[in-house]
């Protein structure tokens, strides 16, 4: 795992060598503010918490995280640099993890830059900061889940637009798998236990529970497993697709 850090640093250098990083951070901050103040009614509620801020994170991530994830492998495959990367003494696991971690840390940075709203809410009232910390952690974990899905699907194609669309659809399914519109598809032909299982895959359910301040180990484990599963799939897809 010596080279994980090498891959990670190169990825981060690329983010900041292009407008990608700055555009992403600025759009992310503007959009989260718009959602919080206009749709969330941050001031009108007169409650000192960040619920209106975190409530819209799943929807924000639904589009912004695939936008970061789409380039991870599709770009490397299109430009041919994947051949350079994977013929260096770097294992596929190091490459997959290094790229994922770089993007995840980068999203974490964007998330951390929302700190003024935390300060604001502390100036205006006495929020439960424990809940806020849990919600930040939950938000970052959920972003990791979206990112792992996007990274895997990015390895499946050379075309970033295709990667983006596939990732948005897959993330949407995972986000909403607890809602009737997804469950009804399966209701006719799967046993109830499996439908409950699918319902439990919902990002929304697990994120909501963490963001209410209930830092249940099972919710954390859920996101860790989702990330692990999709990264393992990413490795397999990469091995199969790189020859094309």
């Amino acid at each position: 795992m010596n080279n994980l850090g090498v891959v990670l640093r190169r990825e981060l250098a690329s983010y900041f060598a292009t407008p990608v990083a700055y555009v992403f951070i600025v759009i992310y901050l503007i959009m989260s503010a718009v959602f919080t103040f206009y749709l969330g009614g941050f001031f009108e509620r007169e409650i000192a918490d960040l619920e209106p801020f975190f409530r819209f994170h799943p929807w924000l991530y639904l589009f912004l995280v695939p936008a970061i994830g789409m380039r991870l492998w599709a770009e490397e495959r299109k430009s041919g640099t994947v051949e350079l990367l994977l013929t260096l003494p770097i294992t596929a696991t190091e490459a997959v993890l290094g790229k994922f971690l770089a993007a995840w840390l980068f999203i974490g940075l964007a998330l951390a830059l929302t700190f003024p709203i935390w300060i604001t809410v502390n100036v205006l009232g006495n929020p439960d900061n424990g809940v806020i910390v849990a919600a930040y952690l939950g938000s970052w974990l959920m972003a990791g889940g979206f990112l792992a899905i996007s990274a895997c699907l990015s390895a499946a194609t050379r075309n970033q637009v295709v990667a983006f669309i596939l990732a948005v659809v897959a993330c949407f399914v995972f986000l909403l798998s607890g809602l009737p519109m997804v469950l009804d598809v399966f209701r006719g032909w799967l046993p109830q236990a499996m439908i409950d299982g699918i319902g439990n895959l919902s990002f929304l359910v697990h994120f909501t529970s963490i963001s209410r301040g209930v830092l249940d180990l099972r919710d954390v484990l859920y996101f860790v497993l989702v990330i692990g599963f999709w990264l393992a799939a990413n490795r397999i897809v990469l091995e199969r697709k790189k020859a094309e």
Binding site: N2, N3, V6, V7, R9, R10, A13, S14, A17, T18, S79, G80, T81, E83, L84, L86, T87, L88, P89, I90, T91, K242, A243
Partner: protein, 307 residues
Amino acid sequence: MIKAKSLSRHYGPLVAVDRLSFEVEPGTILGFLGPNGAGKSTTMKMLTGFLEPSSGTAEIFGHDIRSASLAARRQLGYLPEGAPLYGELSVERFLRFVGEARGFRGDELIQRVGSAVERLNLAEVLGQSIETLSKGFKRRVGIAQAILHDPPALVLDEPTDGLDPNQKHEVRQLIREMASERIMIISTHILEEVDALCTRAMIIARGRLLADDTPAGLLARSRYHNAVTLVLDDLQAAASALGSLPESREVEIRRGRLTVFPSGRGDLFEAVTRTVRSAGWSVSQIQLESGRLDEVFRTVTRTGEAA
């Protein structure tokens, strides 16, 4: 030493590389020669660890590419086809990345990057982002990353493709300089390059090895080998006179040039010059042919396809 043992690769039903076996010793510049889609790149991708062979294997200085892929990769420097690079990075940042991935840190990293930069004359563009560089500079950056760890074997996939004649010359010069005590494997479809550069050439078509020889050996297979070509006024008269020499097998007139092919009996060039002198023809050009690689190439690859 690089040793390929019945190396094969299939893409679905398509056989890209078919049981390729060969050995290369240090000090060799081996040219992979073949039509497009012959399996040159696929072979290189397997040797460098990018693709798993479907069957067979290869050893890079004793390290098996299947069971010891990382150790095998450490022995190699590789320039993939088209010299792909991370365009958004600066030359220095990119070379540092490759150096780190090769396991260099601190002073050693700085020194390795420094010597590669010096060797390929990259100092003036060190801080520039790679995508703003000219094609020639990009190719040099690609070669710099391949030699950064001073590997005993270099694999360069079409190193001069897409360059202008000056840049081609420059890259060939570099390859020649780097070749001593090393194994160099280059692929190309430019035939003069094999003659100009390689000490050994392998012709590959449809994934199979069809010829493995020195460039001179390949030239000797040409029917033009030791033929004599003349440019003169009265082609027909000269053709009938020269065609009846015992040293000549046949004559051919093409595009105002007369070519006399050797029968193998005696010295054809000597016989032709003697005849020219005694007949008093005014000859504007006379040339002893060493052979034509393009003709050998076509013959070898066509026969291979028919077989």
